[in-house]
């Protein structure tokens, strides 16, 4: 019985407490770098003429600045949930949040606009 309780606690702990969310930066189709979401930092991304300034602050990732022509990535709201992304199409740069946890129940990331009900996807 004690063992069962022990196992139960272990599992609860496993699901709820450990946070292995990480920011993964993909550039030109390849993993460029990964950072834990739990450490605040500013990242300067610079490759040839491609320049981006990324921040990880309070477990949220935002694109602060970019020298792409459409600046859509900078206008994308910050991300914090597994599966969410910020994408710069002109530069083929993707910031995405991944979770390499093995048995963890994934939080279901869903698109949401302010004050609107949750949806599974957006046709645009």
């Amino acid at each position: 019985m004690a063992i069962a309780v022990g196992l139960f606690l272990y599992n609860c702990h496993y699901f709820q407490e450990s946070d292995k969310r990480q920011l993964v930066i993909y550039y030109q189709g390849r993993v460029y770098a990964t950072y834990p979401l739990t450490e605040n930092r500013q990242i300067i991304f610079e490759e040839k003429r491609v320049k981006h300034q990324i921040s990880v602050y309070d477990e949220q990732v935002s694109m602060l600045e970019a020298n792409c022509f459409d600046k859509l990535c900078v206008r994308t709201p910050g991300i914090s949930q597994v599966g969410q992304s910020i994408i710069c199409l002109p530069h083929r740069l993707i910031l995405t949040i991944e979770d390499d946890e093995q048995e963890r129940k994934q939080r279901i990331p869903r698109e949401k606009a302010p004050n609107q009900p949750l949806i599974d996807g957006l046709a645009e």
């Binding site: 407490e17 189709g29 199409l89 129940k105 606009a113 609107q116 996807g121 957006l122």
Partner: protein, 366 residues
């Protein structure tokens, strides 16, 4: 903040230790626990591990692709993106060596034999061009190349150049050889552009691939197009927001099962020059962006390629002609929005669609 985290970590280690002792003890009594077996499999075979929800975003076909797969392996999504790459290699307008690029390069000079897949897709594009009387025009390449909307070089071309290029956009000047599976553009300077259906086509190919893999439940987002494979694992339909064409967010929610929704509108790709907005849906007759009362057209169908072609075509037709056209089609549902936020939709879709944004209203007169 930092101290808190460290404390959390410390307790984590402590409880983990205690519990791990428990686990080991348990393991000693009963041999192997299921948990340990599971971990071993996982270490050796990370990409083969089935996940309840797998969400992956990447760039494919020159656009943003998000796959949400239920009960799938990471290897499944990897294969999807590989498939998108092979499709792009065949259908790309700019990539030299693609079948489409070869046909365009040899326009006015030589016919090009293409593989069966590309051939049948070009034929399909031709059929949609005639079905919509050129409102979906597969040979608008010379015009889209001129404006370059959606790229850094977007600009308003000289009127006389637009007029000259318009003479090269007649899809009826494309000839097919059924036996050789070859395609020939009769005039030099003509160019077929499958950009209007490539996404829809690719989405259908992903559906086929995923069904072969035994995945019964998935949502494909391909550059704004949505394809639902089955329903959510609990049997509920996917809730799909339809983009608010006049602001951020969405104006309505569609319940979708095993169907696709493709939305077209002038807000998708555009640029502003001298205070005038130019968008990416062109009028085949004038060579300029379409100007009418519509702000958004969504087509709901099982045939995503067709939905892709028709959403553009109906947008170009405008309200009256678009509605007349849609009435004649079978197995095609629609949601159309005009500038004054009136929503026109097919009868069958009404029970699956609700407006959630203030100001938008269903059309009353019917």
């Amino acid at each position: 903040m930092d101290r808190k985290r460290r404390k959390k970590l410390n307790t984590h280690i402590k409880t983990s230790l205690v519990n791990q002792l428990g686990v080991i003890f348990f393991g000693l009594i009963l041999g192997l626990t299921a948990c340990q077996v599971d971990q071993r499999v996982d270490v050796n075979n990370q990409t083969e591990k089935v996940k309840p929800i797998l969400k992956k975003t990447d760039i494919g076909l020159g656009t943003v692709v998000t796959l949400t797969l239920y009960n799938a392996r990471p290897a499944d999504s990897d294969e999807c993106f590989k498939l998108l790459q092979t499709i792009e290699n065949k259908l790309s307008f700019h990539q030299s060596g693609s079948a489409i690029n070869q046909i365009n390069q040899l326009a006015g000079r030589q016919s090009v034999i293409v593989d069966e897949e590309v051939y049948s897709l070009i034929k399909q594009a031709y059929d949609y061009s005639s079905l919509t009387e050129g409102h979906f025009n597969m040979s608008l390449g010379p015009i889209t190349e001129l404006w370059k909307i959606g790229t850094e070089q977007a600009k308003v071309p000289k009127d006389e150049i637009i007029k000259r290029k318009l003479a090269l956009t007649d899809y009826q000047l494309i000839t097919f050889n059924e036996e050789r599976k070859s395609v020939f553009l009769e005039k030099e300077g003509m160019a077929v552009d499958l950009g209007g259906i490539a996404k829809g086509y690719a989405s259908q190919k992903l559906r086929t691939l995923l069904s072969k893999k035994g995945i019964e439940s998935a949502l494909i987002y391909l550059g704004g197009n949505i394809e639902a494979i089955g329903s959510k694992p609990d049997g509920q339909p996917f809730k799909i927001g339809i983009k608010n064409p006049l602001a951020e967010g969405y104006f309505g929610i569609l319940s979708l099962k095993n169907q696709s929704v493709v939305t077209s509108g002038p807000y998708e790709r555009f640029f502003i020059d001298n205070g005038v907005r130019y968008h990416h849906i062109f009028d085949s007759q004038t060579g300029y962006p379409v100007v009418n009362e519509l702000v958004s057209v969504s087509i709901i169908a099982t045939d995503t390629t067709k939905a892709d072609a028709l959403s553009t075509a109906v947008y170009s037709m405008g309200l009256a002609e678009g509605l007349r056209f849609l009435d004649k089609q079978s197995a095609i549902e629609y949601i159309i929005v005009t500038q004054d936020k009136t929503v026109y939709c097919s009868k069958e879709i009404k029970q699956y669609f609700e407006i959630v944004e203030k100001g938008f209203k269903f059309n009353e007169e019917e």
